[in-house]
């Protein structure tokens, strides 16, 4: 699929999907509370069960959203991973943009008229 590059933006196309399948499948499993608890209890075992790649495993370990996206993660599934840590969308936005949460919130507020 040939898409024009949009700065700071990854379209979740077939190329990304192929890369990220195991990671996204694990994150999809976090819909269920029991699976979230199992992840928290033994992160290594849980990741091994889904056969994450080394890159995916490292991105999960670092809780780094940009790395997770680079490893094929899809925003909708990653949101369930973030939920385990009680992060909201401003936490995640701040992390990806290198801002503090207050700075990120201020950037959003600035759009208001």
């Amino acid at each position: 699929m040939c898409s024009p590059a949009i700065p700071g933006t990854t379209l979740f196309d077939g190329r990304q999907a192929r890369k990220g399948y195991a990671l996204n499948k694990m994150c999809f499993s976090f819909n269920e509370a029991a699976n979230r608890a199992a992840f928290v209890q033994d992160e290594d075992a849980y990741c091994a069960r889904y056969g994450l790649t080394a890159q995916q495993r490292e991105a999960i370990r670092s809780r780094n959203v940009l790395q997770l996206i680079a490893a094929g993660g899809n925003a909708y599934y990653l949101a369930k991973f973030a939920g385990i840590f009680g992060l909201d969308m401003q936490d995640i936005g701040a992390q990806q943009t290198g801002l503090t949460k207050a700075e990120f919130q201020a950037r959003l507020d600035a759009y208001a008229r």
Partner: protein
């Protein structure tokens, strides 16, 4: 014949769920958002739909990448919700309308829409939160038929294709042999982007132009490809496809009875429109 009485388009941000769970509706951050729905409450009270057809996008509750439909139509007697990973108390589920579900599926397939029919289905915040904002008591006086449009896995259906889907759904509703009053609800957008270095992107000019277009020139957004829509509205702003399908279902000219645009709710430009066929 059934009557298609109107359409509502609204954002569906997960943060609304936290606000509901924490009873934050009257806090300064949330009050303008919730108050914007009061005129829609009055309209619903006066116009009493029996069934809602809900255009929404699943965020990874009911569908995974193993079977990702472009268009899915619910044909279940009941649609439960889930906590979606966020430890929030799930909202009450919804009764389906199997007669309308199968009528839609029959008509859509006959018109070359290659839908996936779903006789067992959960719906996520994109259905439950707008419903809870429309009926704050969370006792639903309507049955629903969910119609899910893929915004997860690219390629997404084009804006033009979503307009065509909406038009076909509208024709099917108006041709349904029933005395029921049907409304359409479309949830998603407006501009926002959760992922990537561009996270936090919002585009008010585009959103306002888009809302205008829905009244007078509903095909306006179809001039843009999906990547162009993402460039303008953000990776999740592309959920405006739900608004297009909803508008198209209403068919010819519409009257805009109410609209609201508010920034930000979470990372999102929150929009609301109430449209009635003229």
């Amino acid at each position: 014949m059934a009557k298609l009485i109107g359409g509502i388009t609204t954002s569906h941000v997960p943060a609304i769920g936290r606000a509901l769970a924490r009873n934050s509706q009257d806090q300064p951050y949330w009050k303008p958002f919730f108050d914007a729905y009061l005129p829609v409450h009055a309209w619903l009270e006066a116009n009493r739909p029996d069934v809602l057809v809900v255009f929404y996008n699943d965020h990874g509750l009911n569908f995974f990448l193993d079977k990702m439909p472009t268009f899915a139509v619910g044909a279940a007697p009941r649609y439960e919700t889930g906590d979606e990973g966020w430890d929030l108390p799930p909202l009450p589920g919804f009764d389906g309308d199997l007669d309308l579900s199968w009528h839609l599926i029959d008509q859509l397939v006959a018109r070359d829409f290659d839908v996936t029919s779903c006789q067992e289905m959960r719906v996520d915040h994109a259905v439950s939160l707008p419903m809870a904002v429309l009926w704050p008591g969370q006792v639903w006086p309507v049955r629903i038929v969910p119609v899910c449009i893929n915004t997860v896995q690219f390629p997404l259906p084009s804006a033009r294709r979503c307009l065509a889907l909406g038009a076909a759904v509208g024709d099917a509703i108006r041709g349904w042999k029933s005395d029921q009053r049907v409304a359409v609800l479309g949830t998603g957008g407006l501009s926002h982007q959760l992922d990537g270095e561009r996270a936090g992107h919002i585009n008010p000019e585009f959103d306002l132009r888009f809302m205008d277009s829905l009244v007078d020139d509903p095909a306006w957004a179809a001039q843009f490809s999906i990547p162009e829509l993402v460039e303008k509205a953000g990776t999740q702003g592309v959920e405006l496809l739900m608004w297009l399908a909803t508008r198209a279902a209403l068919g010819g000219p519409v009257r805009c009875l109410h609209r609201n645009y508010h920034i930000p709710i979470s990372n999102t430009a929150s929009g609301l429109m109430l449209l009635e066929p003229v």
